[in-house]
């Protein structure tokens, strides 16, 4: 590789190289700096933070801000609900996507075309927020945990990702199982599921991140039920209480003070919400890169 670098001898090529490397470094800095800044503030003494000037390392190191978090009573509840919906939602999402994808990959299945079109249409047409809200109300799902899980069980995009993966598997595997007397469910369970693991890992990641990151359903459907709050929703409430927003939301200065938590504590909560994702995604990289490419080709 070093040789190749040396061989690109023209001045314009070397300038080009310099530009490319500088650009990549720039991308690294603007992507990482904000996260490091948030981490530094979360580890810095909250009164000292007010002085400003913190960059990417704490000036007065402390873990107090993280201890403070425990005094936010809703945060524990939010954590439990977020973790629970992520777990249940991901398991159900993977099962539904893989089952549907398998039936759609079977060329001898009569309903194949109908189900494909039926699913694909949902990617382009939606009833909109208000009809959806009223449906949820009709189904008595307001102020329930189920509203986090039920509406999102089937995702057309995920089904198509898994289907294009199954289409790439040799059909002979299914044929031979059939001859051995296996029924369609056994084939799905014993042969398809184990072989589609990479695709399933991809959509599991998509679904899990979606669940972990969502806050709007809590805001819209469950904001009256404190025991059903989620982590992102709590973070949203804490972060949105910045100066400019409080100006019109709070009626007097006392209320403002009650609502604003120290900057350092806010950043500590941000870190707690973000860290689980940071630990997981690099390990699944090769799966989701493949999954994204497959999904894009098919849909």
């Amino acid at each position: 590789m070093g040789n190749r670098l040396l061989r690109s001898s023209t001045v314009s090529d070397r300038l080009f190289d310099a530009f490319v490397y500088a650009y990549a470094a720039f991308v690294l800095v603007i992507t990482l700096y904000p996260f490091l800044h948030v981490a530094a503030i979360s580890l810095n003494d909250s009164i000292d933070t007010v002085r400003g000037g913190i960059t990417i390392y704490p000036r007065k190191f402390t873990l107090k801000n993280y201890e403070m978090i425990f005094s936010y009573q809703h945060l524990g509840t939010g954590f439990r609900n977020s973790a629970l919906r992520t777990l249940i939602g991901t398991v159900l999402g993977v099962i539904s996507s893989s089952m549907l994808a398998y039936t759609l990959s079977r060329k001898d299945f009569q309903g194949r075309r109908f189900v494909s079109v039926f699913l694909a249409l949902t990617m382009y047409v939606s009833g909109g927020l208000i009809p959806f809200f009223l449906l949820i109300r009709e189904l008595h799902l307001i102020n329930t945990f189920a509203v986090y899980i039920l509406p999102g069980i089937v995702s057309a995009f995920n089904v198509f990702v898994v289907r294009s993966f199954i289409d790439g598997l040799p059909y002979a595997l299914q044929e031979s199982a059939k001859i051995d007397g296996a029924n369609d469910f056994t084939i799905y369970w014993r042969i398809i599921l184990p072989l589609t693991k990479p695709a399933l890992a991809t959509i599991a990641l998509f679904v899990a991140v979606g669940h972990w990151n969502s806050w709007f359903d809590t805001y819209l459907f469950n904001s009256q039920a404190e025991h059903l709050t989620t982590l992102q929703y709590e973070l949203m409430k804490v972060l949105q209480s910045t100066q400019s927003n409080v100006d019109y939301r709070a009626r007097n200065m006392n209320e403002v003070m009650a609502h604003i938590s120290p900057e350092s504590v806010k950043m500590a909560i941000t870190m707690v919400v973000t860290l689980p994702i940071l630990f997981v995604y690099p390990f699944l990289q090769r799966y989701f890169v493949k999954g994204m490419t497959l999904g894009a080709v098919k849909s």
């Binding site: 590789m1 299945f109 939606s126």
Partner: protein, 320 residues
């Protein structure tokens, strides 16, 4: 085989055909069992809301049976088109979606091209892994980070600009309506560039190395190779993705606007979905809000069909 069964079908009587259908259905009972429950699911949560569109033509009152609702025709649409706020909201939606579309296309393609030119593999892989990071972080967190970075007390951007002497005092970026569209677009670029580049990088890796060899023999330098080989090599991918995003042009969502906006920039931050949320749901005007949703969906579908039509002309292929 397909052709054989087809001619067979043609000569069968109706009775034979139904019999065959049921025999087939019994044989694939497991396939039905594995798909039908989810089809019902999709019907309930994706198709039933479409029935709710009837509300836009009624003076909808909750709790009343469907047949006792009062029908008012297009009254809510007329009210919508008379509302001055609607045009402001439509302007914001279109402005932010067009800016998002352009930036969301140009920047990831540029990023993919640049990344492809890095020869140090570990550096390339590291930059790429880091570039995915913001995609996995929620908009709540990203909005918090953007607000923090641009804040007037101790925000790094202001400290940098003041430190360099470009500004005399911190500038209230988040309080300026005129900057809101740009901030939203840049936040989106920051969050999604690495992710959106995945597909382009995959397409680039599919270009045959012999093309580059040939170009090098002809004396093409690196920029020329990028311009004449890499870029044309991912042309189809670019077109397909472009047309798909045109279909979603107007339905840009509202998370960013909801989380980054505040009362000071409201004239520039309100988009169609937020308008439906605040003036429809928030005020209990379900019919009016539904009319907004319908307008949004219908425009999306028209844009998609138009884009698909143009695409068909250009490449003789359909994406739908």
């Amino acid at each position: 085989m397909e052709a054989a069964t087809w001619t067979e079908k043609k000569t069968m009587t109706r009775k034979e055909r139904t019999g065959r259908f049921f025999r087939n259905a019994v044989r694939s009972r497991w396939l039905y069992a594995m798909s039908l429950p989810f089809v019902v699911w999709v019907f309930i949560f994706h198709y039933l809301p479409l029935w709710g569109w009837t509300m836009a033509f009624q003076r909808y009152r909750p709790g009343r049976p469907f047949f006792e609702q009062e029908w008012v025709g297009l009254e809510h649409f007329r009210a919508l088109f008379r509302d001055e706020l609607f045009y402001q909201v439509l302007r914001n939606t279109l402005a932010m979606s067009v800016m998002g579309l352009v930036a969301g296309f140009v920047v990831p393609i540029f990023f993919a091209l640049m990344l492809n030119e890095i020869r140090l593999m570990f550096y390339k892989r590291f930059v790429q892994t880091v570039s995915y990071l913001p995609h996995f972080v929620s908009w709540v967190v990203v909005a918090g980070i953007v607000t923090k970075m641009l804040s007037t007390d101790g925000g790094p951007v202001n400290e940098l600009l003041v430190g360099l002497g470009i500004l005399d005092e911190p500038y209230p970026f988040m309080a300026k309506g005129k900057l809101f569209w740009i901030i939203v677009t840049l936040a989106d670029v920051w969050k999604e560039t690495g992710w959106n580049a995945i597909i382009y990088l995959a397409a680039i890796s599919g270009i045959g190395p012999e093309l580059y060899e040939a170009a090098r023999v002809d004396g093409a330098n690196r920029i020329q190779q990028m311009w004449h080989i890499t870029l044309p090599g991912i042309r189809t991918t670019i077109i397909v993705l472009l047309i798909m995003s045109i279909g979603h042009l107007i339905s840009i969502g509202f998370e960013k606007q909801f989380l980054l906006g505040n009362n000071l920039v409201r004239e520039y931050s309100q988009v169609l979905d937020l308008y439906a949320l605040n003036y429809g749901l928030g005020m209990g005007r379900f019919s009016f809000g539904t009319a907004i949703n319908i307008f949004n969906s219908v425009v999306s579908v028209i844009l998609l069909l138009a884009a698909n039509g143009i695409f068909k002309r250009v490449t003789k292929e359909s994406i739908m």
